[in-house]
Amino acid sequence: MTDLIVVDRVGKRYQSTSGPVEALRDVSLAVGAGEFCTLIGPSGCGKSTLLGMIGGLVAPDAGRVAVDGRPVTAPDPRRVATVFQDPGLFPWRTTLENVEFGLEVQGVARERRRAVAADLLGPLGLRDFGTKYPRELSGGMRQRVAIGRALAIDTPIVLMDEPFGALDEQTRLLMGEWLLGIWRRTRKTVVFVTHSLHEALALSTRVVVMTARPGRIKSVLELPMAYPRVMESSEMVALRAQLWGEVRDESLRAMGDA
């Protein structure tokens, strides 16, 4: 497997009102083509910052990030699409118009981009909602629109920053299953940020556990088992306990810190 994303010893500090905060320190990570790589760790451990660096929205203070062999300096919508926790849909646009936003920015002709968006409605489970506005959709539907907007520009890499974080648990489980189906069909490279052990274990080919602030990589868990995974199997239950052990320590440290 070739490394599509290479993160090399990056660091990042922010200025906050209570002084400088070190979000990331000396983080290195390589993600191969077709991987589903999940970042998990306590709140404030720099997961989103790391994702922002790969997406070109955050510049590292130290180290470098490369996608497809090129250093990342700005968002590159031909290679990387991003889904945020807050779907960030444009309320004045319908589902179709939101999905085709990225293509519109790229100057794709109106009929072409409308056709791409319309073809996505089926897989998104939004066939009857193409002309609805975000306020008329449920939280899960809105997040699917945001995912559709990312899929429409058909990049090899999709970054997802806690996409299901704001959803209720049942919706969240269903969305995870749905996303797994999409990913297995499209074989995109996904970097996924979550707080959910279940999501990490059910979806990922690899889970990267990050430490409390300043965020560093604590451990990496390879998950070569086939999909769909039976989460109640003894193997998955044991992995869950192991992962929780690692995340729990860091979460406790993060809580003590705060």
């Binding site: 919508p77 945020f84 960030g88 004045w92 920015v105």
Partner: protein, 250 residues
């Protein structure tokens, strides 16, 4: 609107007119002008008997409003975006705009007459002055309202600043902006007409002053009614535009 609401409104109007009629006759019909005197005066006015120069005056006032409003839009949008999109300029001059807006604008009018004379220019200047501030402030408020996350999303999808401006900022602030444009229009109309009433040789304000000065109170009320239609009409059009923007944004 339901029929019931219309009936209630008509009833209130009829009651007010009847009350006014009785009261005016009991007091002094010359000063308090009962509706029965206004109706024929309005007829004579619209038949161009009492003031044959009505169409020309109306046209002049409308032209002054149009010019003043166009200038207020151009300057208001220009200043608003210059102050709102540039942090340094905004910090330096933003508070000045707010402070100037708080000054009762009518204190500027004498100097505008001195600068621009009795003609249309001083009315346009005053209408502009009144319309300019709400538009500028609406742009500033609108820019503050734009959700920074949406701008980040647009950037992530490769939108450059001009594209972000057109596809995210403008639609996101449209509702506030249109509200400001509506307020600006109402104030521009007020500015022009007040300017004419305070001192002019032509326009609706001059006719109103003339009728009032000669105690032709029925004519005076008829002229005010015509002016009222002009103001309410312009505001209704602006309100229609505002509702469209609202439907589009929310």
């Amino acid at each position: 609107m339901t029929v019931r609401v219309l009936v209630w409104r008509a009833a209130l109007l009829a009651l007010a007119l009847a009350g006014w009629e009785v009261w005016a006759r009991a007091m002094n019909p010359l000063l308090y002008v009962p509706p029965s005197a206004v109706a024929p005066a309005l007829g004579r006015l619209l038949a161009l008997e009492s003031y044959p120069e009505l169409p020309a005056s109306l046209l002049l006032t409308l032209r002054e409003i149009a010019v003043a409003y166009a200038m207020a839009i151009a300057a208001g949008l220009g200043c608003g975006f210059a102050l709102g999109l540039n942090r340094v300029v905004g910090r330096a001059y933003g508070p000045v705009v707010g402070a100037l807006y708080a000054v009762p604008a009518v204190v500027w009018y004498p100097s505008l007459m001195l600068f621009f004379g009795l003609g249309a220019a001083s009315k346009i200047a005053f209408g502009f002055l009144l319309g300019f501030f709400p538009i500028t402030l609406a742009v500033l408020a609108g820019i503050r309202q734009v959700n920074p996350h949406m701008i980040a999303v647009a950037r992530a999808f490769g939108a450059r600043p001009p594209v972000v401006f057109v596809k995210v900022m403008l639609p996101a602030m449209m509702f506030t902006l249109v509200g400001g444009l509506r307020t600006g229009l109402a104030l521009t109309v007020i500015g022009v007409i007040v300017g004419e009433v305070l001192g002019s040789r032509e326009g609706m304000g001059t006719l109103i002053n003339h009728a009032y000065g000669l105690f032709r109170t029925a004519d005076y009320v008829a002229l005010v009614l015509v002016t009222l239609v002009l103001v309410v009409g312009s505001d209704a059009v602006a309100g229609l535009v505002e509702r469209r923007a609202q439907r589009w944004t929310e």
